[in-house]
Symmetry: C2
Subunit: 387 residues, 2 copies
């Protein structure tokens, strides 16, 4: 029996003892235990040489400390949270005040769902081949705006912008993109191999890459999305350690041709995550992350193969997670097929894109060790009217 | 007579008393006076309430302090450097050890030379209209990698990457892009108007947006340049204050149609800078910044019109500065017309793109007050072989 009294701190719950994600609450690092948070500063002395890392006010020092420190701290946390008696000074506090737990250095967004890339191609470029020739050879990606990455729960104001015409005004096609994000750490380095990628990835979050499709559609040629994305990108308040996904590792789907050597994996780094997209209380999609064509290890190898460095605090996202079926699509652009088809929510509301005051919550779970379930903390946001 | 003994600290020289750019040398903020540096920490008490800002080890606190502090500090510096006697504790030191003077928050790269955009369109997409329909309506731009912005003088290792084929290896078409960069500061804010843009721009640098054209050409559809750019972006070691350009302000070129209201300027923010590109000792181009279609004020207004915030340390670059003539082009892709035409350097060397050990130096000057000349510090870099 653990001293942690929380009904959700159980192996069959997403934030049980097998998960232990990190966040920042009330100015200090905390670990989520069920539906409560265990602040680490009061029990920092339990972490020996890592006492200072866990006493910081953001995760960045821990991110910088690297793989061995991550392993040590997690091992100690497992002991501490499964002990019969609480460590001296330990208290459990509400998780409600969790803030963005790390300072984002560079933010990169990939595009690694074949289903999504094909669908987006069909919708945005109906007269061309949906998948461009490079897509099956490299994980297409681009840099996003680090300064507007916000924590789950932050309201998202409908952006203004130019759309085709041109016309200017509040976006009329505000969308989500359900993605999985990877939080980087360890020494600043470049040319990370797929086999060492896990040494540079501390943990995993959910990402909602809010997208204004009308702004994006008008601006994105030839240099890519810019203002259609940069107004806000939401991430989970809790970073689930990569180590929690040992039982969720799968191979990426089969390919029609080999990839370049730097993208070959000697171990599987696909992750068997099942996402769930809740729109005003209706589950509209359940995308499977195992369908992604490129793993995070391949993405990180690609991102650094040109000599670009990866730094603690770098965040890269998978790209919209979409599957082959309509109830597995990761954005409303696809579900509504470019706005053509209405989506009916519980209570009869009809939607194509987001309306003001709509709320979207994305959650995800993966198989954990011994039949347990490992969770990614939700990324939620409510749309506020253009101001 | 000033106490500053430096032959280059004269009104007819780019780093005379009319310029006073800021850098960081030996771990402290310094101001460039001619070809020497005046560290500010030893004379911080001369800056009154701003003593702490000028004593920092990067420019970021000064950037955050905002327009009034920038004006105050510069006014005081003008007094101090024109006084007959040195302030107590003042010493002049070499400029050689200048490091990247600020921590880059987000880095955005625009594409605001019409000549460059048309030329790049003709070279990259020979079968389409060179200028896409959005180009004359908004300053096209995209996010780059902040973590690989390096200071002038940093060697640039030839990047590896995928090119069309696909094939993998060291880039065979390594190029430069001569640009002008704007360093942001002031309070974190969004929806900056063109008329208040100068309150959020601390100063100006030169930027070399090194570009691997073969990598870029293969990867950039549909989400824009990524690894073809992210290996390195060089900036001047010295940030020339925006205030130094009061005599260089010009209107942007005439347009065929009006722009959206948020892009209209009520004062001219074009800058009459003349750039110079030196390739292994040969001046190969002299691009005119006054030819740029969008000003930095329009770029900043655009970048934030969707609600995205601008933060101290944000850096945005103009895009390659190219003019109508071959000796006014800002990158070798254009000068060699996609590699078709050889460029002959002094001594008879022939080039299309960069070879290993080549050195490129970009400099720029603008008219200063009373017939003086205001300089942007050089951005230089030497190509090292792929490793």
């Amino acid at each position: 029996m653990t001293w942690v009294e929380d009904e959700a701190f159980r192996a069959d719950q997403p934030f049980g003892p097998q998960t232990l994600p990190y966040g920042v609450v009330d100015g200090q690092i905390a670990v989520r235990v069920g539906d409560q948070a265990l602040p680490l500063r009061p029990i920092a002395s339990s972490f020996g040489e890592h006492a200072e890392l866990v006493s910081a006010d953001t995760l960045n020092p821990l991110l910088a400390a690297g793989r061995q420190a991550w392993t040590d701290v997690r091992a100690r946390l497992i002991e501490l949270t499964q002990a019969a008696a609480a460590p001296k000074g330990a208290t459990l506090i509400p998780i409600d005040n969790a803030v963005l737990p790390f300072q984002v250095a560079d933010y990169v967004d990939f595009y690694s769902s074949k289903y999504h890339a094909e669908n987006a191609g069909r919708i945005f470029r109906p007269h061309d081949e949906p998948l461009l020739p490079n897509w099956t050879h490299l994980p297409v990606g681009y840099h996003g705006r680090a300064g507007t990455v916000v924590v789950s729960g932050t309201p998202v104001v409908r952006p203004h912008g130019q759309r085709k015409g041109p016309a200017f005004g509040p976006s009329q096609r505000l969308d989500i993109e359900a993605e999985v994000g990877f939080v980087c750490g360890g020494p600043v380095t470049s040319r990370v191999s797929t086999s060492s990628a896990a040494d540079h990835v501390f943990g995993v979050v959910l990402v909602n890459d809010w997208s204004a499709r009308d702004i994006q559609g008008w601006e994105y040629q030839p240099l890519g999305p810019f203002l259609g994305k940069s107004f806000a990108t939401s991430v989970s308040a809790w970073v689930t350690p990569l180590d929690a996904f040992s039982a969720a590792r799968v191979h990426t789907p089969p390919r029609n041709h080999p990839v370049q050597e730097y993208l070959v994996e000697d171990q599987p780094w696909g992750l068997d995550l099942l996402l769930q997209i809740d729109w005003n209380g209706t589950i509209v999609s359940r995308p499977r992350f195992a369908d992604m064509f490129y793993s995070f290890a391949q993405q990180l190898a690609h991102m650094t193969v040109n000599g670009a460095t990866v730094r603690p605090g770098d965040l890269f996202a998978s790209g919209t997670v979409s599957g082959p079926d309509r109830d597995q699509l990761g954005c409303f652009l696809e579900i509504s097929w470019g706005g053509r088809d209405k989506i009916t929510l519980a209570g009869g509301e009809q939607r194509t894109f987001l309306e003001d005051h709509d709320t979207v919550r994305i959650t995800a779970t993966a198989p954990g060790p011994d039949g347990s379930v490992v969770g990614l903390a939700e990324v939620a946001g409510t749309v506020l009217p253009a101001s």
